[in-house]
């Protein structure tokens, strides 16, 4: 398990960052104003 997470960790961190950005972008596309809500801390979970 430790090996699964930490082997090649730099690449995994970069992949996570890329995934996070794609996710934020697509989420904002799907739910316009999502980034603003995230920014102002007014997410409701809907």
């Amino acid at each position: 398990m430790k090996n699964l997470l930490f082997h090649n960790w730099q690449a995994k961190v970069v992949c996570f960052l890329i995934a996070l950005s794609i996710w934020i972008y697509l989420k904002n596309h799907d739910q316009p104003g999502f980034i603003d809500q995230l920014w102002t801390g007014t997410l409701t979970g809907h």
Binding site: A11, K12, C15, L17, I18, S21, I22, W23, H29
Partner: protein, 264 residues
């Protein structure tokens, strides 16, 4: 009253989505690693991710707008740049077995060891890489594709000095000899013994670039070495080699505990 539960469910859903995306991107990166366009892809992806995060964090609306229209162009250009790789990936996905039976790999290890014993007796050298998750594309491009069943006689024949395939290394993928006469990357390590030749340098270089386990049989001394994870373990008896290969290939354990003998 319902609010915390919906929020928790939403966070769980988001976490699952991000995890799936991360795994997918990592998988793609592993498939593209070592290919010509990989550096372009990595650089572009990293830049895009960084810009997106910065524009999100600092509320840069103009950059955000620009980023919003870029994915479509990026997708089209990626398909064009990686057309040969994509073809290979789809072919691999279609032909890859769901499980890799341990019994087959144990037989492969046995065949390699028998082949090494034959070559050792004949005073010939060998360089054999067991590919795992990371492929080294340049070796595939330079070597001769075989896709043959692994057998001791075939290995002994490949490394017979008068044959065209004896120079370079053999790459074993699962239970097949994928190619022979592949050119492996040479290590730049300064700490290697001066008496060790190109085969050992190539084995060590390959172990630094990939997660493969590489077996070297010295032509001059008949000594067996194993390069793995940037380390060269030698001298090894055939029994020691067998147990280390089983640990790496079948058990996937950390073999550093298994009598590591580093070349100084």
């Amino acid at each position: 009253m319902n609010f915390p539960y919906t929020l928790i469910a939403s966070i769980a859903r988001d976490t699952i989505e991000i995890s799936i995306l991360t795994v997918g991107i990592y998988w793609l990166w592993k498939l593209f690693r070592g290919t010509r366009g990989a550096r372009v892809l990595a650089g572009f992806g990293f830049l895009l991710a960084l810009l997106s995060l910065i524009s999100f964090a600092l509320h840069l609306t103009v950059i955000g707008q620009l980023l919003r229209i870029s994915p479509l162009f990026l997708l089209i250009s990626l398909v064009i740049i990686f057309q040969p790789e994509l073809r290979r990936i789809f072919a691999e996905v279609g032909s890859r077995p769901l499980f890799s039976p341990h019994r087959q790999q144990a037989e492969v290890i046995e065949a390699v060891i028998n082949g090494l014993e034959q070559l050792q007796l004949a005073g010939h050298g060998a360089l054999i890489a067991f590919e795992r998750e990371i492929t080294y594309e340049p070796a595939r491009e330079t070597g001769t594709t075989l896709d043959a069943h692994v057998s001791d006689d075939l290995l002994a024949t490949i490394f017979f000095p008068k044959t065209p395939l004896h120079d370079g290394g053999v790459i074993i993928v699962q239970d097949r000899i994928a190619l022979a006469a592949g050119i492996f990357p040479l290590t730049q390590s300064e700490g290697l013994q001066r008496t060790l030749g190109l085969r050992h340098r190539a084995a060590l270089g390959m172990s630094e670039e990939t997660d493969a386990a590489i077996v070297v049989l010295s032509e001059e001394t008949g000594i067996i070495s194993l390069a793995y994870n940037g380390e060269l373990r030698r001298p090894l008896t055939t029994d020691e080699l067998r147990s280390q290969l089983i640990a790496i290939l079948l058990n996937g354990s950390d073999e550093k505990s298994l009598v590591p003998q580093l070349a100084s």
